[in-house]
């Protein structure tokens, strides 16, 4: 079992309809500034590589970059923090999305049930709250909707702190996209979309981790 880099994970998932924010891959601080100017401030810089899984824990995510100088410093730091065992690395520049609500979605391969998909309430308390719903893949028509309706924290889906209600159809699209990945990419063992930030009522994945069978090219 091996993981794909964040950029490769996103590329694969985007092909199947998972919504991501626009982002660029850069290989130098200068390219990073150019990318940030196009994407707009504030933005985010993340070290990217096939062998890098737990970026936050290693301090490899820099949030809320407000200026070209901040981008340059952050990106230089990130390249400096790369270890030899990380292999070939680059940096992702993405817009700094903000929303009061986060969901989590993904699928995994279970020895009893095969591929199963999950939707849940996200954020730092996700595992403590464990408000989640599972279904076996592939999903049939109506399955995604019933998963969303099964979550206990339904109030989260209504208007919330001045933000519009969550578009449940868009959340269903994410789940059906994961179902499509499971069908089309048999070597993909698991996908983590954490978090799915709700921006203006729409779910947008800002991080993705894809695990594949090792020894099989994607």
């Amino acid at each position: 079992m091996t993981t794909l880099s964040e950029a490769s994970s996103k590329e694969l998932l985007r092909r199947h309809g998972v919504p991501f924010a626009e982002e660029r891959i850069v290989s130098s601080p200068e390219e990073a500034i150019e990318a940030a100017e196009k994407i707009g401030y504030p933005c985010v810089a993340k070290l990217n590589g096939d062998r890098i899984a737990h970026k936050t824990e290693r301090g490899l995510v820099r949030l809320g970059l407000q200026s070209p100088e901040a981008v340059r410093d952050a990106v230089s730091d990130l390249f400096g923090a790369a270890k030899p065992e990380d292999g070939e690395v680059s940096v992702l520049i993405a817009p700094m999305l903000s929303g009061a609500r986060e969901l989590i979605a993904g699928f995994l391969t279970d020895e009893q049930f095969g591929k199963v998909v999950m939707i849940g309430v996200g954020g730092v308390l996700a595992e403590a709250i464990a408000d989640v719903a599972f279904r076996l893949l592939p999903l049939a028509s109506g399955d995604a909707e019933s998963m969303i309706d099964e979550l206990k924290t339904q109030s989260l889906f209504e208007e919330f702190r001045g933000e519009p209600a969550i578009n449940k159809d868009s959340v269903a699209i994410v789940l059906n996209a994961l179902s499509n990945v499971a069908i089309a990419e048999s070597n993909v063992l698991s996908v983590d979309l954490n978090p799915l930030i709700i921006v203006d009522g729409e779910p947008i994945a800002v991080d993705a981790l894809v695990e594949i069978l090792s020894g099989v090219s994607k």
Partner: protein, 491 residues
């Protein structure tokens, strides 16, 4: 391998039964099984084997299956003999044309490696001979259409439309006890024991196409292949509701937390999702499981979530509304036309809202009239009716008091009891007329089962719910299943 249909016919509706290993000792299973078959009205031929011969409970036993009379017609063998001789026994049964065997003998898979080997040999033999094999180490089979009580435990339940399948014999007895208590009866019940050949999903498959069964009620534990189980359940639920109680819900460890999704995935959460996806009804506990099944068996499916509450007991109405609000059901908003229609029947102090609290304003015919008005209103999908039996409870106090029957007491006692009977009957008739569920709830169902109200509910073959929250839970299970059918284009 799924058992052939004719095997089920032999199993549930045998023309004759032989108890292998019948005993003269009334404490032994071999006696109890024969006793239970003979005492509950089974009309087929009954035979028994006993090494020493002789008569047991009026049945002249024979030493072995080969010694059965040549003209004996036997479809089912109930096996109480020690495991070691059972392969020869099954071969002998096959020679006599016996097509089904219930093996209650222990000493198989539950007892270690040798037992596991013996069990596999028994299963292979039954397969080879084309015999439907239930057990081993199970408690028995009940089939009310044939008045068959081939089990080593009590009770024999009233006849009804619930098909029971369980990996724990004890839960079969518990479900049958609830059937006995509530009057909502059973079609078939099987304690699958080690389920070496005939499994719970096999039974559910059969119930799905069984004309005697409207709903399945199953207890399962230790499911090895979750996906295969879910796929089989799905095929069954497309035809009939399945109510599941699963043991071991809290065991199943977390996945290795390589991913966040993995950290959140427990066996139970995945099983739960798979069952929702398959349209099965999962109950949280034993009584909830029985009551959900009993409701599927006796009420039409609601076409929507909107519930009207009719009450002559104010507080119960309020807490019922609370329970509905907490569920996926909806407390119906009364339409103007319905409110106007009720206005014509009640003094102005009635609640004028849902719960429809009659506030003591009812006269002789009010309750049936209001039940009917509410049931036919297009904005109401189901009714919960509260307050039945209150007057009969007072009647009971009077009937058992020292003044009875004087002072006009006899007349009022009769009146109250007659009224409560009428209300229960009206609830059943109106439910039937408008094709909408009407659930009657009162604690008197267990506090005083002889109260005229609950008794009449039982006589209409409905479940009288012991509290309104239990009625809400059962109704919610029906609504969830109805919605699943609708979402999957099933009628």
């Amino acid at each position: 391998m799924t058992p052939p249909r004719e095997g089920f016919k032999a199993f549930f509706d045998p023309r004759g039964v032989v108890v292998a290993g019948a005993s003269t000792h009334p404490g032994k299973f071999g006696f109890v099984a024969l006793h239970n078959i003979l005492s509950q009205g089974y009309a087929g031929e009954v035979y028994a084997t006993n090494r020493d011969g002789g008569s047991i409970l009026g049945i002249e036993t024979v030493p072995s299956i080969d010694d059965l009379p040549p003209d004996a017609v036997v479809d089912l063998v109930f096996v109480c003999t020690p495991a070691s001789g059972n392969e020869d026994l099954i071969r002998a049964c096959s020679r006599r044309g016996i097509r089904a065997a219930f093996v209650t003998s222990a000493g198989y898979g539950e007892s270690g490696e040798d037992g596991r080997v013996a069990e596999q040999r028994l299963v292979a033999l039954a397969d080879e001979l084309g015999i439907l094999l239930a057990g081993p180490n199970g408690q028995g089979v009940v089939s009310t259409p044939s008045r068959l009580c081939a089990q080593i435990v009590a009770p024999y339940p009233p006849a009804g439309r619930i098909g029971v399948a369980s990996q724990s014999g004890n839960f079969v007895s518990s479900f049958l006890n609830y059937a006995y208590q509530s009057g909502v009866g059973i079609s078939r019940a099987v304690s699958a024991g080690n389920a070496a050949a005939l499994t719970v999903p096999d039974l559910l498959d059969f119930y799905a196409s069984d004309d005697e069964t409207d709903v399945s009620l199953a207890y399962v534990e230790g499911i090895a292949d979750g996906r295969a189980f879910a796929e089989r359940i799905r095929v069954v639920t497309e035809q009939k509701p399945v109510v599941l109680l699963k043991g071991g819900a809290t065991s199943g460890g977390q996945r290795a937390a390589a991913s966040h999704t993995g950290a959140l995935a427990t066996d139970d959460r995945i099983f739960d999702g798979a069952m929702r996806q398959s349209g099965a009804t999962r109950a949280a506990n034993v009584e909830e499981a029985f009551e959900a099944a009993a409701t599927f068996a006796t009420q039409p499916l609601p076409r929507g979530p909107r519930v009207g509450v009719i009450t002559t007991a104010g507080g119960w109405g309020v807490v019922t509304a609370d329970a509905i609000t907490r569920s996926s059901l909806e407390l119906a908003i009364l339409s103007d036309s319905l409110r106007d229609a009720i206005d014509l029947l009640l003094p102005p102090r009635w609640s004028r809202n849902n719960p429809i609290d009659l506030a003591g304003g009812e006269t002789r015919d009010t309750i049936p009239e209001i039940l009917s008005l509410v049931a036919q209103d297009p904005t109401i999908d189901a009714i919960i009716y509260l307050g039945l039996g209150i007057q009969s409870n007072q009647a009971s106090l009077m009937r058992n008091g020292s003044f009875y029957p004087d002072h006009g007491i006899e007349r009022i006692v009769d009146y109250h009891e007659r009224q409560d009977r009428r209300f229960a009957e009206a609830a059943a008739e109106i439910s039937q007329t408008f094709g909408k569920p009407i659930l009657t709830a009162t604690e008197l169902a267990i506090a005083d089962p002889n109260n005229a109200g609950p008794r009449a509910v039982r006589e209409t073959k409905k479940l009288c719910y012991a509290s309104s929250n239990r009625a809400v839970t059962a109704l919610e299970h029906l609504w969830q299943h109805a919605r699943w059918r609708e979402q999957h284009g099933l009628t």
